[in-house]
Amino acid sequence: MKKVISAIFPILLMVIASVICAGIYLFFTNKFSFGSKVQNNAEASQNMTAGDNSIILSENELPRIGTSIFTQSLAKEIIKDYTQNPNVSEEALSCFELEEGYQKLLNGEIDVLLTTEPSEEALSLAQLSGTEFETQLIAKEGFVFYVNKNNPVNSLKVSQVQQIYTGEFTNWSQVNGNSTDIIPFQRVDESDVQRQMKSVVMKSLSLMNPPMENFNDKVYGRINDVIAMYDNSENAIGYGLYNESNILYNFEEDVDNGVKILKINDVEPNYDSIKNGSYPFVTSYYLVKLKNNSSETIDIFKDTLLSDRGKQIIKEAGYIDN
C-alpha cells in the first residue's frame, strides 16, 4: 500500500504542478491579449474624444449644411463622424452649384456652406443683402494635372502648364515629351473646376479655346460642337481637383491605359507638399456662414471641425487639414 502511495504521489504532484504551470502560462498570455484589446479601445476612444469631441449629434442637431460638389464627400464624412452613423440621409446636406449655395445661405435656407472662397459675385450678393460672410479656412486640396500613364512626361513647370494652356506650347517635345501634338482638354465654362483653373493656375493669363468634339449618339443622332471631355489618349492632358479626379479616373497602376498625375516643379501633390505649400496649385475650402448668425449649433460644428477630431476627419476624407 505504501509502495503504491509512494508511486502515485509523485505522479499526482507532477500533474498538479503541470496544471499550475499551464494555468500560469494561459493567465499571462491572455492578460497580454486582453491588455492590448483594452489599449486599442482606449486609443479608439481617445481618437473619438480628441478636442471637444465627446459630442455626438443627431442629424437634426446639426446645422443645415450646404456643399459644392467638391466638398460633398468631405461633408458626408463630417456628418458620419458627428452623428456616429455611417448612413447619411439625403436631407442631411444639400449640394449646390457655385453662387446658388451662397444665395441659399443668404436666404437662410442653409446655415453653413462648405465651399471654395467666395467669388466676387457671391460677395456682391451679400453686400446687396446688407450682410457679410464669415469664412473659416478648414481644408485644402491639390489642383492636379494628369496625362495617360504611357506619356513619358512626369513633371511640368508652372510656366509650362501655363504655356500649354495659353496655346503657346503645342507639342509634347517642347516639354521633353514625344514629338506629338498636345491635346489640352479643358472643363466646361462656369464649372467650379474651370474657375479654379483660371484663378489658381492661369492667374491673369487667358486660356486658349478648348478642343471641341462631335459624336454620334445611338438615340439622338449627331451631336456637334460640345467641349471635349478628357479622353486619356496618349497625347492628352487634363486637370481637376484631386479628390474629384480620383473619383473619375483610374489612377491605379494595375489597369491598362491608366491616368498619371503630373508633378509640378518636380513636386508630387501629396499631403505633405500641399500642407507645407511646396506644391504650387492648391485649392482651399472654407466654412462660410453669415456674420450675423450667432447660432450655438454652428459654433459647436465649427469648433469641432477645427479641433484634432475635425482635422482627422478632413484627412481621412482625402483632404488636407489646415
Binding site: 503541470s18 499551464a22 457655385l98 471631355m229 473619375l248 483610374n250 489597369v255 491598362d256 491605359n257
Partner: protein
C-alpha cells in the same frame, strides 16, 4: 543513490509531463487564434457582398480577353415570347424564355425576371412615386454568346421613368455582374466617366442646342454617378451587342462597346461551346461583333465564305411578338424553307444577300392568315467584295441608331450594285397550309406543293417555279415550295445574284 535515482526519474518524468501539457495548451491556444482569424475573414464577406455591384458572387472567373474588331458572335438558339399580366393594377409586359435543354435553368431565369419586376413594384420608391399611368415593359436586349440581357423599363408617371436590368448566364442561370462585361485590366472609371459625359449631354440638348444648365450641372452629374459607381451602388444594367447601359436613380450611362472593344468580354466570357439549347437550327452565326441584329423571331445571319454575306430576319411587322404555338409552327416551317432556299447563295461569291421578312396577321375571306412579306436585296460585284460591299455594310451596321432595327442596310451601297425583289406568302393559321393564289390572265402553271397539301387559288403575284432561270428583280415572285424538305430554288437565286 536510490533516492537520487528516484529524484532523477521524478524530474525527467515531471519535465516530460510539463512540456507535453504546455505543448497541448499552446496548440489549443493557436487553434483558437486561427479560428478567430477565420472569423474575421468570414465577417468581412457580407460587407464585400453588400458593396459589390450585384449580390451574386461567382467563384469562377474565366480569364478572358477583350473583343477584336474581326471577331464574330453567334445568336443563342433560345426563343422567347412576350406575355402580359397585372400586379396591383400595373400592366406588365415581360419575356418568357424557352428552348433551353435544362428546364430548371429556364424556370429559374423566368422566375428571376418575374421576381425582379415584382420587387420593383413592391418597393417604396415605386409605391410612393407612381400614379395610374404606371406600367412595366421588360424586353430582351441581348440573346447571344450564351448570355441573356433583359431591360426593364418602368414608367412611374408621365414625367418620370427608370430603367432596371437583369442579366443571365444561360449555362447555369446565374446573374452577370457589371464587372463581368470588362476585362480585369480595363480602366473602368475612365470608360464610365467619358461615357457619362456623352450620355448626360443629351439630357441638356434642346432644339436650340445645349442649354445653359449643362455648364453648371454636368460636373456634378458625372461626379455623383461615378461616386455611386465607386461605392458599388450602380447595380442595374443591361446590354445589347453594341451598348452597355448603366442605370442609377433615373440616369442612364451608355457605354459604346465598340469604342472600348479591347476591354469588352461579353462576347466570349460565358460562351460555353456546349449544347445548351433544344433547337438545332442555324440562326445568326458569324455575326461581326458590335453589329446589332434587329429584334426578330428568327435571325438567319451567316457568312458561309469570305465573300458571301447572308442577312435574313423574320420579324413581326407590328412589333408584338405574341405568336401562338400554332403560328410559331408555321413560322418555323417558313424559316426552314427559307433556310433551304439559301443553299444556292451559300455557294456563290462576291455577293451580299439580305431578306427582311415581315410577318403579319390578317383576316381574308373570314380566314385568319399569316402573311410573310419578303424584301429581298442583292448586291454583287465582280471583285474586291470586302472593300466595295462588306466593309461598308459593316460600318453602317455598327453605326446604326438603336431604333433603326428592321431596315435593310444595303442602301449604303451604290444603286447600280443593288437589285431588289419582294414577294408575299400566306398561310392559314388554323391548318398551317399555304394559300397559293394566282393572278388572272397569268400563266396558269400549277404550283407544286412541297408537302402536297397546299390549296391553289387565284394568284395576284408572279409565280416563279423551281426550274426558272429568269432574273426577276422588280416583280413579285412566289416561291412555290413549302416546308423544309424542298430546295428547288437554287438555280433561281444563282441567276439573280450573277447579274
Amino acid at each position: 543513490m536510490i533516492i537520487r535515482k528516484n529524484i532523477k526519474v521524478f524530474l525527467i518524468v515531471f519535465l516530460v509531463i510539463l512540456l507535453v501539457t504546455i505543448g497541448v495548451v499552446y496548440i489549443y491556444k493557436n487553434s483558437q487564434n486561427n479560428s478567430m482569424g477565420s472569423q474575421v475573414i468570414i465577417e468581412s464577406v457580407p460587407k464585400t457582398i453588400g458593396d459589390s455591384p450585384t449580390e451574386i458572387i461567382e467563384p469562377e472567373d474565366k480569364s478572358t480577353t477583350g473583343a477584336l474588331m474581326q471577331d464574330t458572335y453567334e445568336n443563342n438558339k433560345l426563343t422567347y415570347v412576350y406575355k402580359s399580366r397585372q400586379k396591383n393594377g400595373v400592366e406588365i409586359t415581360y419575356p418568357e424564355i424557352s428552348g433551353l435543354n435544362s428546364d430548371s435553368i429556364k424556370n429559374s431565369i423566368n422566375s428571376q425576371i418575374s421576381d425582379r419586376i415584382d420587387r420593383i413594384l413592391d418597393s417604396n420608391t415605386f409605391r410612393t412615386n407612381s400614379d395610374d399611368s404606371a406600367y412595366v415593359n421588360a424586353t430582351i436586349t441581348s440573346n447571344f454568346s450564351d448570355v441573356l440581357s433583359v431591360k426593364i423599363f418602368v414608367k412611374f408617371t408621365d414625367s418620370f421613368s427608370k430603367n432596371y436590368g437583369v442579366n443571365f448566364r444561360l449555362d447555369n442561370g446565374n446573374r452577370i455582374k457589371i464587372d463581368d462585361l470588362f476585362t480585369s485590366n480595363a480602366p473602368k472609371k475612365n470608360i464610365i466617366t467619358s461615357s457619362a459625359y456623352k450620355s448626360f449631354i443629351v439630357n441638356y440638348y434642346t432644339e436650340d442646342g445645349i442649354s445653359n444648365d449643362f455648364y453648371t450641372n454636368i460636373d456634378s452629374d458625372i461626379v455623383n454617378f461615378l461616386s455611386e459607381y465607386n461605392s458599388g451602388k450602380v447595380t442595374e444594367f443591361s446590354f445589347t451587342p453594341q451598348v452597355i447601359e448603366l442605370y442609377r436613380d433615373g440616369k442612364t450611362v451608355k457605354i459604346d462597346m465598340q469604342q472600348y472593344h479591347q476591354y469588352m468580354t461579353i462576347y466570349s466570357k460565358f460562351d460555353t461551346n456546349e449544347d445548351l439549347y433544344k433547337d438545332d437550327y442555324n440562326n445568326g452565326k458569324d455575326i461581326p461583333v458590335f453589329v446589332q441584329r434587329p429584334e426578330c423571331v428568327y435571325d438567319l445571319f451567316e457568312k458561309p465564305n469570305s465573300t458571301c454575306y447572308i442577312d435574313v430576319v423574320l420579324y413581326d411587322k407590328n412589333g408584338q411578338y405574341d405568336f401562338s404555338e400554332g403560328e410559331m409552327k408555321i413560322i418555323r416551317e417558313y424559316r426552314n424553307s427559307l433556310y433551304s432556299r439559301l443553299n444556292g447563295i451559300r455557294e456563290t461569291s462576291n455577293v451580299y444577300y439580305s431578306n427582311y421578312v415581315s410577318i403579319e396577321r390578317k383576316i381574308e375571306n373570314n380566314v385568319e392568315i399569316l402573311v410573310f412579306e419578303e424584301e429581298e436585296k442583292f448586291a454583287a460585284v465582280e471583285d474586291n467584295f470586302n472593300d466595295r460591299i462588306y466593309n461598308q455594310i459593316l460600318v453602317e451596321q455598327r453605326d446604326v441608331n438603336a431604333d433603326n432595327t428592321s431596315e435593310s442596310k444595303i442602301y449604303v451601297l451604290d444603286d447600280d450594285m443593288i437589285a431588289s425583289a419582294s414577294m408575299e406568302r400566306k398561310f392559314d393559321i388554323q391548318t398551317g397550309n399555304e394559300i397559293v393564289e394566282r393572278q388572272e390572265g397569268e400563266d396558269n402553271q400549277d404550283s407544286e406543293n412541297g408537302n402536297g397539301s397546299n390549296n391553289s387559288t387565284e394568284n395576284t403575284n408572279q409565280v416563279t417555279n423551281s426550274t426558272s432561270n429568269e432574273v426577276n428583280n422588280s416583280g413579285n415572285s412566289v416561291e412555290n415550295t413549302q416546308g423544309n424538305s424542298v430546295n428547288n430554288s437554287g438555280g433561281d437565286i444563282d441567276a439573280r445574284v450573277t447579274f
